[in-house]
Symmetry: C2
Subunit: 579 residues, 2 copies
């Protein structure tokens, strides 16, 4: 084409210069009555390091395009790598909004961003392959992949990729706990496709119940929606489904609206049991008012085509509930190929892939694992207590004075995060107080026994990190930071002292910072547990939720789309076509 026209020039200007579209969106959004607040720039201004001349670039293979992988890719700046991403999904999905997608509040395409758009354009060269990894060979430093497409494009293409560093960020799968019938009859809520399927199924149920030949009993069964699992996802889904049914579907399906029933099954004593008691109580009360049946102490033992059987803890009996649709949202499990890999790495007796505090897979120097597919196997202080004492006792006298101890205190705290948590719990300022406490008055020196007893309780504070987007994103960012400064820190290690061995660790270990967690409860109400045990419940929390979720979007595009979707829902209600 010869010349760019006005239209093309404007359109190109927008797309080449994201700042411009940002300005337009903010003005459009404010025109529409909503302002999206962004806490952090989503376009990190990165300046690539100068590539290491002479030495060939290291090949980094990333498996996955979820929170951890995407956060890693966005933050990787060093151009001394060549990156290859392998994932069956060519997009990043903002998973916390999946429950909203199930009910049409937010459109599926508003929460996804093609991974090729996300990759840090000023960072290293990055290739994406839409395929699934099915085997890792740690000895040969190779991953084996196959394409997931099954069309005329020619069966399942297979290939292998060599790596220098491998980053496993494949997430987890839903855990059925081997309950019979779950795989066949339940919906899960992990992928965007799941959410779309659930949405169609809800509408299907309403349509089915509107057919003239269906008996009233059968209508009641079809319109009985069961949610298994009282965690944040299950609770949010139940709440959204209730709003959808009451606010939108009741109007369109007046003849069946009174037959709708929503049941939430939870094996424990309470729903939202990882939250503060006040939130749990508020949620349970609200659900009771909304006529969402919460059944606690109820464990699902079998799901058949039309009935779900539960064992009631209170009575010990097995109860059978006819249902129209079940959404299964309890716990996560390890993917089969990760299980295989764990055997290879000698982690046979573990349920989840274990890494050290630097997110390196135990048993390997070049493989990292981040997000839901891995767990950090924290080192116990007690395992190392002798070498710690030895390191602190410079004079090798077998006795430690407080001044000696002070020198290793920071390193201990950094190497063993549980120490800090313990001090916090005991309301002590630092480890010196702890030692002084154990030492008793008058004595100037600590021997190994006193040292042991002082730190004896510390390991009780070890906790696994929750499987949340927040943890995964922080791990991805941490790992990218490490990779960005790999060479630099090789020369000047910045981590804590190596108690077993000499010198320091290259990097600070990963430390998770909790920014709080939301539980939307429907009817424009939400609960939030914020850092410092601050609990916030109600309508204002829902608005906080809107702001935070808008600001956390991965791109300005999805931010605009999500905010527009909320606006559309506000004006037009949720869409209830079968699309």
């Amino acid at each position: 084409m010869s010349k760019f026209t006005f239209y093309e020039r404007i359109s190109r200007a927008f797309r080449d210069n994201p700042q411009l579209s940002r300005v337009l969106i903010v003005s459009t959004i404010s025109g529409g009555g909503l302002v999206a607040f962004s806490s952090a720039s989503p376009f990190p201004v990165a300046h690539a390091d100068s590539p290491a001349h002479g030495s060939p670039k290291k090949k980094v293979v990333v498996l996955g395009t979820g929170w951890a992988a995407t956060s890693f890719l966005k933050n990787l700046k060093s151009s001394s790598y060549e990156v290859e991403v392998v994932s069956p999904r060519n997009y990043f999905a903002f998973t916390p909004l999946l429950p909203s997608v199930t009910n049409g509040t937010v459109d599926a395409r508003s929460i996804v961003e093609p991974i090729r758009n996300i990759v840090n354009k000023r960072g290293p060269r990055c290739e994406f392959r839409e395929a699934e990894c099915y085997k890792i060979d740690a000895a040969k430093k190779k991953v084996y992949c196959k394409s997931t497409q099954v069309s005329n494009l020619g069966g399942k293409e297979e290939f292998s990729i060599d790596y220098d560093y491998l980053i496993i960020a494949v997430g987890a799968r839903s855990n059925t706990f081997n309950t019979p019938g779950v795989e066949e009859n339940c919906h899960f809520l992990k992928e965007v496709e799941d959410a779309q399927r659930i949405r169609r199924n809800v509408i299907d149920c309403f349509e089915r119940a509107s057919l003239p030949s269906v008996s009233d009993d059968e209508k009641r069964r079809i319109l009985h929606f069961v949610v298994v699992g009282g965690g944040p996802t299950g609770v949010e889904f139940a709440a959204e489904l209730h709003d959808f049914a009451i606010e939108d579907l009741a109007e369109l399906y007046p003849s069946v609206k009174d037959l709708v029933k929503i049941t939430l099954l939870e094996a424990g004593d309470h729903i939202l049991n990882m939250f503060d008691k006040r939130i749990t109580a508020f949620a349970e009360e609200k659900f009771q008012r909304d006529n969402i049946h919460v059944k606690t102490g109820s464990m699902v033992v079998k799901v058949s085509e039309k009935d779900i059987s539960t064992k009631e803890r209170s009575t010990g009996q097995t109860v059978s509930l006819p249902y129209g649709m079940v959404v299964w949202s309890t716990g996560i499990g390890t993917r089969p190929f990760v299980m295989e890999f764990m055997k290879q790495m000698g982690q046979t007796n573990r349920r989840v892939l274990a890494t050290d505090e630097w997110l390196r897979v135990e048993g390997s120097d070049s493989i990292y694992a981040v997000g839901d597919c891995a767990t950090i196997n924290q080192r116990k202080v007690m395992e190392d207590i002798a070498v710690i004492f030895d390191k602190a006792d410079k004079s090798k006298s077998g006795k430690l004075n407080i001044t000696d101890a002070k020198e290793v205190v920071t390193d201990i705290c950094e190497r063993y995060p549980q120490v800090e948590l313990y001090l916090k719990k005991k309301k002590m300022k630092n480890i010196v107080d702890l030692l002084k406490n154990a030492q008793g008055d008058g004595r100037k020196h600590l021997d190994i026994e006193v040292f042991k007893s002082a730190l004896g309780e510390v390991d009780s504070q070890m906790k696994n990190l929750p499987a949340t987007a927040q943890v995964a994103a922080q791990q991805g960012q941490y790992l990218a930071d490490c990779f960005n400064r790999m060479e630099e820190c090789e020369k000047n290690p910045e981590g804590p002292l190596r108690f077993r061995g000499s010198g320091r660790h290259r990097f600070h270990p990963f430390r998770y910072k909790h920014f709080g967690q939301f539980a939307p409860l429907g009817g424009e109400q939400a609960a939030a547990q914020l850092p410092g045990d601050w609990v916030s419940i109600g309508r204002s929390t829902q608005w906080l939720w809107y702001s935070v979720y808008a600001s956390k979007q991965v791109s300005w595009r999805t931010r605009f789309l999500v905010v527009t979707d909320w606006g559309k829902r506000f004006i037009f209600g949720r869409d209830s076509s079968g699309i």
Copy 2:
């Protein structure tokens, strides 16, 4: 819930009062830089007739939720009916935008509106059943339906519905002309799901071609997109695909962008052959510039998994093209259950269900057929010429004078639309001129032979109406008007004289009014053929297209969504995630 909060009150105000949201949208849209112009109110202000007291309401069953059915339902005002709609799709889709959906310019959900929202709320009571009609029993006045769902909801529910009036508006299916392999290997573009599937498949092809193990030849094959059929849909799809590939995908898939090839196969001599020659020439030239390969005189004879075979008219040879994806968009065919029904009605030797000029299925008084599933079997003047003459010749003298003829002229024109077209072609004002012409000078009377010769050529102007949304919508509206005034016109018939029989026809026959047709050609260019043979080509036509398509949306909701989608595309480009 005790009291409505501010939020709920505002939200309800919007949804109960569509005027309000209209104001908001118009202001929002104008804020965003686009003004959607609506030529006709999409909410017809209908005042229901008072129901016929005493007499039970007549049951109208409508099959389908496409253009014809939806137009009928929107315009039906008389409350003397009870309406039941049966369709496998619980929504109306704005099908002219399907090519835009295939490339993510417009979202699938932006062009659909749940049928329950569209039904004229002030009109008769209306029930919707999501099911497929599989049999019509005209003798028992019954339709047999089955649900299309196949989940745990219990097999395929079956039921039957009695009717007083049946309206068949089920549309057509794609016509494969029994070409082997088409059903299995080609994509069609008739339903929203088709468009979504095509979109995913295009992205799949690009992903597949980006895998490291795929050879260059294979990449070329995978990225060869073939469109069969040079009609408006095929041409628009090819153009949209080209824009999508050049403007959006080329940036994301730089390594394979040069391997993309688009071929448009047309069996005739030219693409867009129902349009003016200037439009055809412009389109063919533009496609050549854009590197879209147009192959005319090329008939597809077989489609295998990876190759498409065509017979070239110029050489008579069969050529085989390796392809990655084929979209089949040539012609339409009759649905199997309509075929069955045609046999029942004695229409065995026809390809399409035939109706009379009042859209009644031939052979039945209570069954109507509208839209693509039917065709109007126009009555030939020559078949009736004797009775027409007889009716005109009041004195029964066997000779007609011009004054006698004048009385029936209006009725003839109305009853036989081909007469008007013929006059137009001959540039005559009215039929009297035609008769005078045939009569020759000097003579005062016409005999039957002169009369016959005058009208002898008229039937050559009979043409089937095109299978477009415009025709279907006008037929639906016409039929609703008839139903609204059924009782009134029973008493005071308003139609033309019955030449065979006595009295007048109840209604005016259906008359199609052509408002023009668009052919978007990509790159913000479009062609339009407007009434009066006015041809408009270029960028301004594309903007006309935007305005017309925005104004023709079925609801303010979809209008807002479609315009927003265009805006989003302008700012962010098309979405290219696999969702």
